[in-house]
Symmetry: C2
Subunit: 151 residues, 2 copies
């Protein structure tokens, strides 16, 4: 089975979590594939790899891995939850094609000043944000014309 970076194992142990076989298989998948996936898709992928991991453990461990900060959960607009590796020091968002689902990561998030302003005007303490930009990739642009509505 693939090797998991010592830093990730350390992160688990330091919060009282063990490096179990399911945990190892799930982390190995993310380190190998470097992409986003849903719980159900991940379960099917692990079955194919004969990793011997139950669906229950997939759900439980995705939750744990988000909690310790190794993964992040992204809510797509259709309500479907996807998970991906948190790269150390990264700050990225997604540009998503509504036609084919293609995902492009980008950095250069211009929200820092807005967040500082909101903290002073509202008294909130800001600790994270969720941003996705939706559109149509070049291939999908001919197909349809959707209205321009933002959230």
């Amino acid at each position: 089975m693939a090797k998991i970076p010592a830093e990730a194992v350390e992160r688990l142990h330091s919060q009282g979590y063990k490096l179990t076989k399911p945990r190892q298989a799930i982390l190995a998948w993310f380190f190998a594939e470097q992409t986003m996936i849903t719980a159900q898709e991940l379960y099917r992928a692990l079955v194919q790899r004969k990793a011997g991991v139950g669906l229950t453990s997939v759900y439980r461990n995705l939750e744990v891995l988000v909690e310790v900060g190794l993964l992040r959960q992204v809510c797509f607009h259709d309500g479907c939850q996807r998970f991906e590796l948190v790269q150390p020091g990264e700050h990225q968002h997604h540009l998503i094609c509504s036609g084919c689902g293609r995902v492009i990561k980008f950095s250069g998030c211009p929200l820092a000043k807005l967040e500082r302003d909101l903290e002073t005007t509202t008294g909130f303490t800001v600790d994270r944000h969720s941003l996705q930009i939706f559109g149509r990739c070049r291939q999908c642009q001919e197909e349809s014309t959707l209205g321009n509505r933002s959230i």
Copy 2:
């Protein structure tokens, strides 16, 4: 039953939709409350008001009202879908307290330039984005300094 703005009724009719009793009750709720709500919560609210609207119709009509542009669907980070009125000409986002769920709307979204840049660098056509900022409101910040609370 509360009056629905003619502009909204016109919007429905122009797309072949009728102003039915469930549709009217749902729109009336949104125009009266001016806030976000999930399908299930809205169903319970309408039951309380004795509006005589079935759960199926709540789901069906929220979908229709989003389609004609009277409502918008917002995916919270926990995956729960909420709906709210689209105010004409607005462009707002939400600052959400992770502690108590309090929601503050804000405008002044700084994403226009980013979107223009992304269009030129990726070839995508951008048509909408989803942004929510999460933190803790003043009340919930105090609570967390009070230490553990009893159940």
